[in-house]
Amino acid sequence: MDLEALVGYELPVGQYCITPDDHQKTVRAIHQEEYAFEVAHPVYAHLAPHCGMGFKIDEFFDFVDFPMDGGALYGEGDLTYHKPIRIGVTYTVRGRVASAERKHGVRTGIFDLITLHLELFDSSKELIVTSLETYVFPRSENSAS
């Protein structure tokens, strides 16, 4: 696939609202059962943009031409907190492909690194969170060309 052609692609605009039920399930699953703050758990700086981006995860995999069962991994995350994230508020997510490059590792072989630049905005268009998420897509020798 032409990785360079992906760079700059604007993802469809999406929306996301953290429901109280989802928030409760999340904090329990990450072992923060006693979390009792008014604002959402800061892990939602990743989860809200990721879940709210205009692609569902299977559509994203189709977009980068990679099978769901191919062993893609979350490789790097960069989160900037501009404002607290609220439960029950509907946010708008805007995103683009920030970078896409092929690497060759001695141990891992050929793999692609694709970074999404995602931003979470509230209804007054104030920037709440900036999230850069980099995914690792192992490519077989056959698909490397």
Partner: protein
């Protein structure tokens, strides 16, 4: 050296399924052990955001409030799997001011404990965090530095 109190966690398979549900993440590598092994992985893959969450929990417990976290950058070096015993750790690298706030730049990491205590660790993730700290915490850090 000023260390952040560490946080221990054991990865549970049922928690992975909960996060799959919340994230609408249907990647079978999280629940299909045979698939994970066929991909050269040692087991079902706990979600990266959960690993990140454990580190965030450590920072919240230390700073006292979730809004304290201003920035976080992490790189994943390995996966965690059900049954793993993990430990989130952090070290304060420097204190600096931003307006009225005192901020701490910290190195953070999540490691897997291998076997019994003292048998070593495997690095899961490592990165840096910028965290706002209270006046009280700042004083404790400064006292600790002098001591």
């Amino acid at each position: 050296m000023n260390t952040i109190p560490s946080l221990a966690v054991e990865v549970q398979a049922e928690d992975i399924e909960v996060i799959m549900d919340v994230m609408e993440d249907m990647n079978p590598v999280h629940v299909d052990e045979a698939l994970a092994h066929s991909l050269g992985l040692r087991g079902c893959v706990n979600q990266g955001p959960s690993n990140l969450g454990y580190v965030i929990n450590m920072l919240i417990d230390w700073a006292g409030f979730p809004e304290a976290i201003r920035h976080l950058n992490v790189r994943f070096h390995s996966i965690s799997c059900p049954g793993d015993h993990l430990e989130a750790r952090g070290v304060i690298l420097e204190l600096f001011s931003e307006g009225e706030s005192c901020l701490a730049r910290c190195s953070v990491e999540l490691v897997r404990l291998l076997g019994l205590v003292g048998e070593g660790t495997e690095l899961i993730l490592r990165g840096t965090a910028i965290v706002e700290i209270s006046d009280e915490l700042e004083t404790m850090i400064e006292v600790s530095s002098v001591g």
